[in-house]
Every structure is written in structure tokens, then in C-alpha cells.
């Protein structure tokens, strides 16, 4: 006989606490106790149940182990099947877990491989970077070297610029600069530089002084010569005047004789200054102001519309302009030869012209009407022209200007 507890649907064993309610329904004690705590009624017939109407049973069951009835076997089978099911489900779960693990393993292996690859790449990159680092370090050293060099050069440049300042700046500035300076070395270099510059300037000064002395001496000698020449000239003039006034017919003869004399005297005059000219030109004496003043004059000379301008000028302006022109032309020749040389030659010509002029004036003195006399000097001029050098040919168109030269005027006055 097998009894079941309807609450837990398990078999009632004699070893367990079996109770009976007054209605006669059997349960496990722990089962009915739980139910009664909720509802005081019989689970099967719903009769009212209290603690008092519960009784424990103590059945005596035969211990015949050999006989195994179907129901116990069935219940055992059920239990075993149940266990089997549970085990199967567990097995399934485990299988699933294993599958998951395998999948994870594969993933991890893949990631491992990829990370190994990455590692190799990284190591190669690290090696490359190390090489780069070495290279950069070398470069850095070079840069440091260059920097130090640059600094040294900068210092050098600074000191040199300051030296320059010291040498060129005015006293106050240098004083200030030196006060600001603390470095003794630079100050020493400044001092030495200044000393050197001072020595140099002293030497130069001495040299220039000597030169000045020399020039002064030369100037004095020149002056003396000029005086002598002037006196000579005066003497000649007086001679000339006396000659012209007293003996006109002899003049032609005299001319031929006088000419070489005058020419000789002028030659002497010309020859003497030549060596001086160069020295004068080179020197810085104020006598050479002509050279400087010629700059604007040459500019004027170059103007192509000069002649047109001349026509539009007032007489006074024209005279001024003309004088400038003549000086310019004079200067042209000066450039070619020398001041003195140039001056002489026109004088020689003028003298001759003047002689002829004198002739006419003597004849005429109101002898302008004597036109036949005029051709003579012109022919003489003509005859003389071929003898003249190319230089003088160029001067021909300006022969009127020559008549206006100061010496000519001087003659006219006389």
C-alpha cells in the first residue's frame, strides 16, 4: 500500500511525520503546517482544521524488501526520468556554454594574431623611430653648434657695430654708451681702436700739413711769377702803344718781328704754368672753384635750344648769358689743355686783330666809311684760318664773342 501526500505529491513514508486530520485526510506534517498557517481548512475537503484536530500516525509497515511493487518502481522511474531530464537540460546548457567558449576562443585567437601582427608593426615602427631619434639628436647637436657659432658672431657683430659707433659718433653719445658698459674687455677694445684711429688721424694731419706747406710755397712762387709776367705784359703793352702811335707803316715790318717775340714771351708764359696746372687741379685750394662752378654751366651748354633762347632774351640777360657762354667755352678748352694755355692763344689772335683794328681806327677816326680797308683784316684772317688747328676752327662761329673778351675791351678803351 502506497500513500501520497496531496500537497507535495510525494509518497508518505513511515519514517516521516505523517498526520491525519479529523476528516481522515493524510498529509506530511510539514506540508499541512504550512497550509494551515495560510488557511485553516483541509486542502481536500475544505473542512475547518485547528491544531487540536491534527493527529500523528505511526503505521507499522512490513519490511519485505524482496517484493517490489509496481507503484514504487514507477515512482522511482519517474524520479530517475526527472533527473535524466534535468541532466539533459544541464548537458545542453553546458554544450551551449562550450560552443560559446569555442567561439570566444576563436575570437581571442584572431585578436591575438592581429595583435601579434600589430606588435611586429609597432616594433618595426619603434626601430624606425629610434633611428629617427638618433638622426634628430645628431641634427640637434649640429644646431647647437651653429647656435653657439651664431651667438659668437652676434657678439662679434655687436662689438664691431659699437666700435663703429665709438669711432663715428659724437662725444656725448660715446660717453653715454661707455657709461652703460660694464664689460672691461669691450671697453679695452674700444680704447685700443680709438687710440689706433687717433694715431692714424695724427699721421694724416701731419701729412696734410706738409702738403699744405708745400702748396703754400708753390703758391708763393706762382704769385711771384705772375707778378713778373704782369710787369712783362705791361712793359710790352707800353711798347706796343708807343709803336702804334709813332710808326704805322713800320708796323707791318714790326709785326713780323714782334710776333715771334710776343709768341716767345707767351710761350714762356705757357710753358711755365703747365706742370703747376696739374698740381692745382688736383689740390683742394679755393682757386679751383672754377671747376666746381662749371658744373651748372656745362649743363647749360648742353641745352639744344640755346640759340632760340638767346633770341628771346633781353639785352641785359643776353649779355649775362653770353658771358656765361664764353666762360663755358673757355672751360671746355681748359679741360682739353689748361687754363693758361687757353688764355694765351686767343690773346695772340686778338693782338693781331687789334693791330688791324687800330689801323682802321687810325685811318678813319670816323673812317668807318672806308669800307675798302675792312676786307684787309678779313683776308688776313682768312689766310690765317687754314693755319689754325681744328680746335680753333670749331671756335670760329663765336668770333664775335672773342671781340667781347675783357682784353679786347681794354684795347678799345685805350
Amino acid at each position: 500500500m502506497h500513500l501520497l501526500c496531496t500537497i507535495c505529491s510525494d509518497l508518505l513514508n513511515q519514517t516521516e511525520n505523517i498526520i491525519v486530520i479529523k476528516c481522515g485526510h493524510l498529509f506530511h506534517y510539514h506540508c499541512i503546517k504550512q497550509w494551515i498557517s495560510r488557511s485553516k481548512s483541509c486542502p481536500q475537503c475544505r473542512i475547518n482544521v485547528t491544531e487540536r484536530c491534527i493527529f500523528r500516525l505511526y503505521p507499522t509497515i512490513s519490511n519485505d524488501v524482496t517484493v517490489e511493487d509496481v507503484t514504487t518502481l514507477q515512482s522511482r522511474l519517474d524520479d530517475l526520468q526527472l533527473q535524466l531530464r534535468q541532466e539533459k537540460t544541464k548537458c545542453k546548457e553546458k554544450d551551449n556554454q562550450i560552443k560559446e567558449f569555442i567561439l570566444n576562443m576563436k575570437k581571442i585567437e584572431d585578436s591575438l594574431q592581429s595583435s601579434e601582427k600589430k606588435l611586429v608593426e609597432k616594433t618595426s615602427a619603434v626601430i624606425a623611430l629610434k633611428d629617427q631619434l638618433k638622426y634628430v639628436q645628431i641634427q640637434n647637436k649640429e644646431v647647437h653648434k651653429l647656435k653657439s657659432e651664431n651667438e659668437a658672431l652676434n657678439k662679434y657683430v655687436k662689438t664691431s657695430t659699437e666700435l663703429n659707433k665709438v669711432l663715428n659718433a659724437c662725444y656725448d653719445e660715446v660717453e653715454k654708451m661707455i657709461q652703460d658698459y660694464d664689460d672691461i674687455r669691450t671697453l679695452a677694445t674700444f680704447a685700443t681702436a680709438l687710440k689706433r684711429a687717433l694715431c692714424d688721424s695724427e699721421k694724416k694731419k701731419n701729412h696734410y700739413r706738409d702738403q699744405g706747406h708745400l702748396l703754400k710755397q708753390k703758391l708763393a712762387s706762382e704769385k711771384a711769377r705772375v707778378e713778373t709776367l704782369q710787369s712783362n705784359l705791361d712793359h710790352m703793352m707800353s711798347l706796343n702803344v708807343t709803336l702804334t702811335s709813332h710808326d704805322v707803316p713800320k708796323l707791318s715790318k714790326f709785326e713780323s718781328r714782334a710776333e715771334p717775340e710776343i709768341a716767345d714771351s707767351f710761350k714762356r708764359e705757357v710753358v711755365a704754368p703747365v706742370p703747376l696746372v696739374n698740381s692745382i687741379e688736383k689740390s683742394d685750394s679755393p682757386y679751383l672753384s672754377l671747376k666746381q662752378s662749371s658744373l651748372p654751366l656745362t649743363a647749360l651748354q648742353r641745352r639744344p635750344n640755346q640759340q632760340l633762347l638767346d633770341k628771346n632774351l633781353k639785352p641785359s640777360e643776353f649779355a649775362l648769358f653770353n658771358s656765361i657762354k664764353t666762360t663755358c667755352q673757355n672751360f671746355k678748352e681748359q679741360e682739353k689743355e689748361s687754363i693758361f694755355h687757353k688764355k694765351e692763344k686767343p690773346d695772340v689772335n686778338l693782338l693781331k686783330e687789334n693791330v688791324t683794328d687800330m689801323n682802321t681806327s687810325y685811318d678813319g677816326l670816323g673812317g668807318h666809311s672806308k669800307l675798302d680797308i675792312f676786307p684787309k683784316p678779313s683776308t688776313s684772317n682768312m689766310t690765317r684760318i687754314p693755319k689754325l688747328s681744328a680746335k680753333h676752327k670749331l671756335k670760329r662761329p663765336n668770333s664775335q664773342d672773342i671781340s667781347e673778351l675783357p682784353i679786347n675791351k681794354y684795347f678799345k678803351k685805350i
Binding site: 504550512q34 497550509w35 481536500q44 526527472l82
Partner: protein
Amino acid sequence: MSPSERRLQKELMSLMKEPPPGVTVDGDQASQNLTLWTIHMEGVPGTLYEGEKFELQFKFTNKYPFDSPEVTFIGNNIPVHPHVYSNGHICLSILTDDWSPALSVQSVCLSIVSMLSSCKEKKRPPDNSFYVKTCNKNPKKTKWWYHDDSV
């Protein structure tokens, strides 16, 4: 294994082995999760629900069998019955107040089959719309007012 699981396992075995007519249990789902069963039910021939198929869901707590299971109709076809609300809740006294540990899934299924079979007119409960709007998800939390003892 807790006593509730042990009992549920035994009930599942017996239900699969000797199911009541028109009642089948989804054994695989139940054995996967012993606290949630789905039971297929067929309308008994000769009744208003002949040919219809319903699905019942049983939810058990770990205090089963002292606690009653939570039983509701689920799926597309919820039987039109004066004690079955349109959300699947069933107004049946043995599921709440009159529960007894001596009852089982099989006996509950039989009670529901008999409830459906005894129906004479297919209609929703009179307070259906109001209840569906206001009720809790769990039918056991409803304070049922068993107005009709005839079925």
C-alpha cells in the same frame, strides 16, 4: 531541488503522460522554465467553443502549491465568456480565494474546460471595458466579486 520545483516536475510528467482530453502542455518550454507553462486548449465538441483553440499561461511562484498559480488566456483567441475578460483574465474562485494545495494544473485545466463547456451564451463580462482599463496586470491582485456561481 525545492519542494515547489519537485512538485511542478511531477505534475508536468503526469500531464505529459496522461493529459486530460483537449489539453496539451508545451513540455519543452515548461521544462526549460518550470515556473512558466503554456497550455494549449481545444474547445470541447458539442459546446459553444467547438473547434476553437485557446492558449493558457500558468505562472508559478516558489511558494507553490500553497500559493495559487497566475492563470490567464493569452494569444490571439481569447474565449468570449461571461467570466473571461478581453485581456485574458479569468474570474474563477479556485484561482484565488478557493485555492487549495490539493489542486493541480490538471485540475485547474479541467475546471476551466468545464467552465467553458457549461457556457450557454458567448458574451463578455458586463464590467469588461471598465475592468480592462483599470485592472492590474496580475489577475491575483484583483479582488474578485464572484457574482455567478452557476458556472
